[in-house]
Symmetry: C2
Subunit: 559 residues, 2 copies
């Protein structure tokens, strides 16, 4: 019925008023299709807040036809999106476990348009959700109520840059070019650049983006910075924020701040914006320092009998592979079984193990001969560990880049595999915990399994993540009806966050807080720290129009 409605209104979708009417139609249509749609974000976990306050829509202005005319004036009629399918897609987060009720998506083409849109929204007090590739896992990039979605997708250019032109000599790798400063290794890109596109741009110049994560084909560099995304390369290149040399940010007032220099005081402002999930400003442009692209990559997949063995290997990898170590990931048997059960991906190891470590080395040495000795030393440790564990360790080594994708898929598709147990709506809960004692990565999984694993509705309690950063992704999957009947999800959430609070862990590491975790911030942060962050929010966004209901607990802010 929705598609019928769409067909019938499509030819008329020219004027803004008609488009607005179409959205109204589509909203009622989607309601009729609700069995296929994720639940409304605003309907989940009532009362949503850990502090007992339920979340209600703040008194932002509703978007009027006159507003749409202003927006069309700024960015052009065809970039004011009201097509119900596109609007629905922009309202639904990637795991499809919640859905906002925004009616409009704006697609500005440049920072000045972002600035003009925000100026109008500030004046009218219209709430705005900046959206990148919409691959977030904490709900930070989708509306909770009827916020306006500000999509950065069109702002995907790699920009010109002050290039260090060396003209007297001609070493081949130094050819100057207009977009990338090869000597400096700096690139300036618009926030909407898709990570994989930016990386392939850089590869032409022998450089790489110091960030890699499963969503690279869709996520945007602006969104990556908004959550300070982690991924699998933190171990090698450090936190993404350390590679940022400049940012252009549109403030809530619409003012553009160009933090494109390296001054330290400005740098603090840059750092404050990074990880702010669009609550303090909209990132429009980024300057990144990019390392040389590795020429030689090897991958070792290891099956271990215990988490201790994995930790031993990690320590051995740090000392023997050191500067060539580029990733150290771990997943447990429950995760691997979901990958093989639900995605039919095959693990190349012969037997099954309790834990799987994925170790990647990367160096600039194309032949690999120079770094072979380091890998040999690591493998000696592996052999000795295998000996001590009575032969229970199993490993495959690959230097064939065609195999890499198949091996990495086991880890990169782990979350997707687990969600497939019972589907997204009410069928799973995922955590992004950070711990300082690496053993806690296993302890939390074991404790959660002990607490809930016996319940009939629970299917799997699985853990995987970035061992190098002490970052665990814990996923519990369950039959949605059974979970609802026994109130499983609030219990799981309370248990895990309570456990982390006692162990001084953190409730989020690399996915951001979004709205799914914002109410629990107090579990790992003092009231003083929360109130300082709330004060900074009020200072930069006095009307609270930027990504409301996100990051800070509802009790910390009142608009």
């Amino acid at each position: 019925q929705l598609s019928q409605t769409l067909r019938s209104i499509a030819p008329n979708r020219r004027g803004v008023l008609v488009a607005a009417a179409a959205v109204k139609l589509s909203t009622s249509s989607t309601l009729r299709l609700s069995s296929n749609l994720p639940p409304l974000a605003s309907s989940l976990y009532p009362p949503i807040s850990a502090d007992g306050r339920s979340l209600s829509r703040s008194s932002y202005s509703r978007i009027e036809p006159a507003d749409l005319l202003v927006f069309a004036d700024i960015i052009g009629q065809n970039h004011v999106i009201t097509d119900p399918f596109e609007v629905l897609a922009a309202n639904t987060d990637w795991p499809r476990d919640c859905r906002g009720q925004g009616g409009h998506v704006l697609r500005p083409g440049c920072a000045e348009e972002v600035s003009a849109i925000l100026r109008h929204c500030q004046k009218r007090r219209i709430a705005v959700v900046p959206q990148g590739g919409n691959t977030g896992l904490a709900g930070g990039g989708v509306p909770v109520f009827d916020e306006l979605v500000l999509s950065l997708s069109r702002m995907n250019r790699v920009l010109e840059f002050v290039t260090t032109i060396i003209f007297t000599l001609k070493l081949s790798q130094l050819e100057s070019n207009s977009k990338i400063d090869a000597v400096a290794g700096l690139v300036v890109a618009e926030a909407g650049c898709v990570l994989a596109d930016l990386d392939s741009h850089l590869s032409e110049h022998g450089l790489t983006v110091p960030l890699d994560l499963a969503a690279k084909g869709s996520c945007q560099i602006g969104g990556n910075l908004s959550t300070n995304a982690g991924g699998i390369r933190v171990l090698r290149y450090g936190s993404l924020r350390g590679s940022v040399r400049g940012l252009e940010v549109a403030l809530a007032s619409g003012e553009l701040i160009d933090c494109g220099r390296v001054n330290e005081d400005e740098s603090r402002l840059v750092q404050l914006m990074i990880g702010s999930e669009g609550t303090l400003g909209v990132l429009t442009k980024v300057t990144l320092a990019c390392p040389p692209r590795p020429a030689n990559v090897r991958l070792v997949l290891i099956g271990c009998d215990s988490f201790q063995s994995v930790l031993h290997l990690f320590s051995a990898a740090r000392s023997t592979l050191a500067e060539t170590l580029s990733a150290f990931e771990v997943m447990d048997a429950a995760t691997m079984s979901a990958v093989s059960d639900n995605l039919k991906l095959n693990c190349p190891l012969s037997g099954s193990s309790e834990f799987y470590a994925l170790v990647e080395t990367a160096s600039c040495d194309a032949s690999g001969s120079n770094d072979a000795g380091k890998l040999d030393k690591f493998l000696e440790c592996l052999v000795s560990l295998n000996h001590e564990s009575a032969g229970s360790i199993d490993a495959v080594i690959s230097n064939d880049s065609r195999q890499f994708g198949a091996i990495w898929a086991l880890r990169e598709r782990a979350f997707e595999a687990l969600v497939a147990d019972c589907g997204p709506a009410g069928g799973y809960m995922q955590f992004d915990a950070a711990v300082s004692d690496r053993l806690d990565m296993q302890r939390l999984v074991l404790a959660t399994r002990a607490e809930f694993g016996q319940l009939d509705c629970v299917i799997r309690v699985a853990g995987f993540g970035h061992l190098g950063d002490g970052n665990l992704h814990l996923v519990v999957t369950a039959d949605p009806a059974g979970a609802a009947a026994c109130g499983l999800w609030p219990r799981v959430e309370a248990f895990v966050y309570g456990w982390l609070a006692r162990r001084r862990g953190s409730i989020s590491a690399e996915h951001g807080l979004g709205w799914k975790r914002s109410a629990y911030l107090g579990h790992c942060k003092s009231p003083t720290a929360v109130s300082v962050m709330a004060g900074i929010k009020r200072l930069l966004d006095p009307q609270g129009i930027l990504n409301p209901y996100k990051v800070l607990p509802p009790s910390a802010l009142s608009y």
Copy 2:
């Protein structure tokens, strides 16, 4: 006369009131010795501010005997320092080119004491300067007027840490210990830890601090973080802030915020504090991620005929040495001549060159055999560049750690060598510029030399710095009397900052803004950005007691 005064009062220096009297005596005494002392900070460059406002003491409370009793109660009488020599040392910055007029130094022994001191200062509105190793170059760590000095020197412990204890197996490098988490590579230290001491602690566990700079024997990790110090390892390990996993900070109110977790929102607060030069809080504790200690280091000193050749070598080093490249420094002929004229240090290269590049490689491969191929490839580039430059390139390679110190001294003592031209008081001016186009590092030196090099009073215009980071230290030396007569220093300052503003460079990179540069912040930062930072300052320090007159221009704040 001062020492006589001191001798006579020393036996009585027991009660606070007697000590306060001693300070009064010593102040008048030091005035009589003023010819040997740096000028008062408050007397320099009137009007001090680039915006035309002269700097005057804000209406902070004067320290009364009753305050000293409170402080003695908190930290013990013998840690309330009023000894005139110690107080004078704490008032004088490392280059000895300016001097504050503080009368007291407090030496708390723990974070709780820092907290209690700040609570009292907040209540009484007493201005405070947090001080680390006092090795700063921008005047950020010394009083401008009579601020209270809060020294972190006693807080120099490496603290206990949640250690990942692996007990089932015994690979030698994994022995657990109580202070350093070898698996995580994390260390928790008090802010007053001297950098070199912290590094030697870590060396016992095969780790290193991801920071190295000339002042390492005196500077403290808290001070390093307060300025986000750069140094020679940024190229290898990235900005220091990227390695910080947690901070404990005492706010102006005295409240301690423990940002010891990895939560992203907390991380933004951590990042805001880093580089804030004590204006937003006093760092009391830091958690750092530490990389494995390199086992094999080589140093190449290269004399080049042109800056372009240096840039070529940098690009070649990035692609051939890549992950083993650990430093790439540059200095010009004027700098090298100061080093040999004033410090009598010998450059091991046979002839003299226009520029000198210092390239360091470091890897975990103890034998060096694995990484020798990378160095060979770099040396091939060097040979081919030498060929293209008609044999004007000269180089020495060292893998003898005993020689390293002598070669590094040429670069690390460059600033000291230049200051020795005419002494600190009025005899030099130094800059800490950051540029994105590496060629600007040379252009700025040439432009400054063209503008001022012909003046009779000017001795040298020299440039050196961190090529890998586009960070130039420009130093002009001149006869103090001649410089004063022609108003040289304000002209040099205006010229250099104007040049940087036009080229979109930054007036500070790694030394901080302190008070020497704070008035010029507008040269590289928009009014909006300045006002956001001022708003954050007011939010966190409503009374303005923390390190006043620093970082932000006087016009941006009014207390």
